[in-house]
Symmetry: C2
Subunit: 411 residues, 2 copies
């Protein structure tokens, strides 16, 4: 049927348009207005002859007063992209409205309000955009919606979701969702991820999460805590993994059943608050054998006061870094994380680590380097240096997990 | 028995010393010479009264002409460390001889020659030490040993093992081994890792590998290809994982049975050759949202011509990096890897990636960022820029795996 002009009867209305590829098997038409419209159920479909006159019909956005309302804020990325058949490359083109309408299953879960905030690939995300997004999410929640979905490119989704976690205290679910395969590919994960994110957006969760495929099949999505997740594979649909923690839960697909395992904040538990200052002069440096510590001075001389080091093993750098770190730590927040990614930083075991602690370097515990960087930007934007140092060691929104016996720790 | 003074009869010799903690359950004595000696079998043990006169006995290093000879080169690290009970910190103290003698099971596998090359924690490793080590390994192989074991701190073991892989063409196994828990802890993995490494050192392998615990139990070690492994956990004994490939094989413990799955070079397949130049002015830069491209100029102005970027997703950076990358690529080797770590870089899918390719950035395929950095140092040390660019794309020693259907790739 793809590509055919059809007339669809659904309830007491009739729509005409071209049949589009549909990842969920529902019927999706491209209307002459340029909008797409999707049908889970319809009464009748007729293929239209080329000589028939076509009528422009505006898409309906009927509200069901018995259903909760969810805002979809679109920022771009693969979930909002399709292949440009002229160049062969993938570009962001769909709008939030289109995303919502190409997956009509969402309308069975909630009423949708959709807005495009950005239309960028996520590698072009910047801290200043995080702030804009935080304010837009805040505005939606303030309006009284039951939840907010943010569609986002997957490359830096975990950086953005971490930033929103620190900036926004939310009483409702804020759900980041992306896709690893664009909507017009048969293996696209955008429809199932979106449907699962809508389930989470009306759930009992009261925190910022990332919802993405949990396996390479279409059987469930995982709900990851925003500050504990990272993209761990370049291309697999289950690329997102919770690191050093359990996921918050899972959404079975297509049943939509939610199983929660590790919830931190429930719906309504926190007041809506925003604290969106960020100190952008912060840097993440990955250590490697032979890296000269002059890189620390380079940034320090340019006014940087926030440093996250991705050290080796339990959190080490070469001992010829100690002297420079001693100086930098005088007026800067310097946090050690590990390029192992899994496990906890512990600088009390080996000589080098003890030297780092004496210099004033803070152990980043079990935070990912990415989350530690975003936390550094946020702390230095909102607190003085001493407060920032104290808060870096404290779990604020789930970014640091307590030591537990099931994690095999050396510390 | 620990701490007791004993006299041990073994064959026609008698030894006296203090019983030491033993991770394998064998009997280990500290002799008055300062050496440790271990016994798997012995005829008789007598506890010595405090009034008995003690006799100093030099440790034996008897050669069994029917067994192959393996060189153990010690560089330091946890496998060669113990707790300093004065400061509570762990320091490198054991010598290679002591390592060999505290694990007498090794003597049942092979004759041992042991030398200490360095005594440093591995975060202090530097490219210049890699070169020294390559020459020492070369010298041992030249002497005709059946294999070489390098004991190494785990933090940067995968950087060193990668460097040796590129620098040294070896006809015999070169086995890197470390420990996540020091020898005097009950949970130490040093004895079992060492015993497994000895099995590999006399096996049919003809390449550089890393042998470490494959599970959190003591049931097997994995044999990782040196250029495909990384330390993926700060503290677990099974911290080392082969990334984007199968391990070379496994060694069952304690049986010593070796199962090979993914061998690249067999014993005797390659000639012994060394090519140990390195260009140290190379840098690995991890990208994050907001990172200013001025960091590229900082290094380029200082004469750096080797750049490895740890980009996002399939291998991206912000599009405001393109202009600087265009300039840098004129006279530099710039390779893109992914901070996802798992999966393959593919810059042909999205606009940003295509801009990177046009600028002259090379796709790092499925190499880890760490291996790509070491390869860059080695290529620029031994080839001109054009050759280096060509060779960066080619699999030399197993660092790039062909695309196969069992890896779900977007490219």
């Amino acid at each position: 049927m793809e590509g055919k002009r059809v007339r669809v009867k659904s309830g007491n209305r009739t729509y005409e348009g071209t049949v589009m590829p549909s990842p969920t098997g529902s019927l999706v038409l491209k209307l002459d207005s340029g909008y797409n419209i999707g049908f889970v159920e319809y009464d009748d479909v007729k293929i239209i002859g080329e000589d028939e006159r076509l009528v422009k019909i505006e898409p309906p956005l009927e509200r069901d007063p018995d259903k909760p309302t969810v805002s979809i804020l679109s920022t771009g990325g693969t979930i909002a992209s399709r292949v440009d058949y002229r160049t062969g490359a993938v570009t962001s083109q769909f709008t939030a409205e289109e995303i919502a309408m190409i997956v009509p299953e969402i309308s069975e879960i909630c009423n949708i309000e959709a807005r495009e905030i950005f239309s960028i690939l996520s590698e072009n995300m910047k801290p200043e955009y995080w702030r804009t997004l935080a304010r837009e999410i805040y505005r939606e929640i303030k309006k009284g919606v039951s939840g907010v979905i943010v569609t986002h490119g997957t490359d830096t989704m975990h950086y953005t979701s971490s930033a929103i976690s620190f900036m926004l205290s939310t009483p409702v679910p804020v759900v980041f969702v992306g896709a690893q395969r664009s909507s017009d590919r048969p293996s696209s994960d955008s429809a199932s991820n979106l449907i699962c994110s809508a389930r989470v957006a009306v759930s009992d969760i009261g925190e910022v999460v990332v919802v993405m495929h949990g396996s390479t099949s279409d059987d469930y999505c995982l709900i990851h805590r925003a500050v504990k997740v990272r993209k761990n594979h370049t291309s697999r649909r289950d690329a997102f993994k919770t690191v050093n923690d359990f996921p918050v839960g899972k959404v079975l697909y297509p049943s939509g059943k939610i199983e929660l395992r590790n919830l931190m904040f429930s719906r309504g538990e926190r007041e809506l608050r925003i604290r969106d200052s960020l100190e952008e002069k912060c840097v993440l440096i990955k250590f490697f054998p032979g890296l000269n510590p002059e890189i620390l001075n380079f940034y320090h001389e340019r006014g940087y006061r926030g440093f996250v080091i991705e050290g080796t093993g339990l959190g080490h750098v070469s001992s010829d870094w100690i002297e420079t770190l001693n100086e930098i730590c005088q007026d800067s927040l310097v946090t050690m994380t590990s390029q192992c990614l899994n496990g906890r930083v512990c600088d009390r075991v080996y000589d080098t680590g003890r030297d780092l602690l004496r210099a004033g370097v803070i152990e980043g515990e079990d935070m990912t380097p990415e989350t530690a960087l975003v936390k550094t930007m946020w702390l230095l934007g909102n607190y003085d240096l001493d407060q920032a140092r104290d808060l870096m060691r404290v779990n604020l929104v789930g970014e640091i997990r307590d030591r537990t016996e099931w994690f095999e720790d050396a510390c």
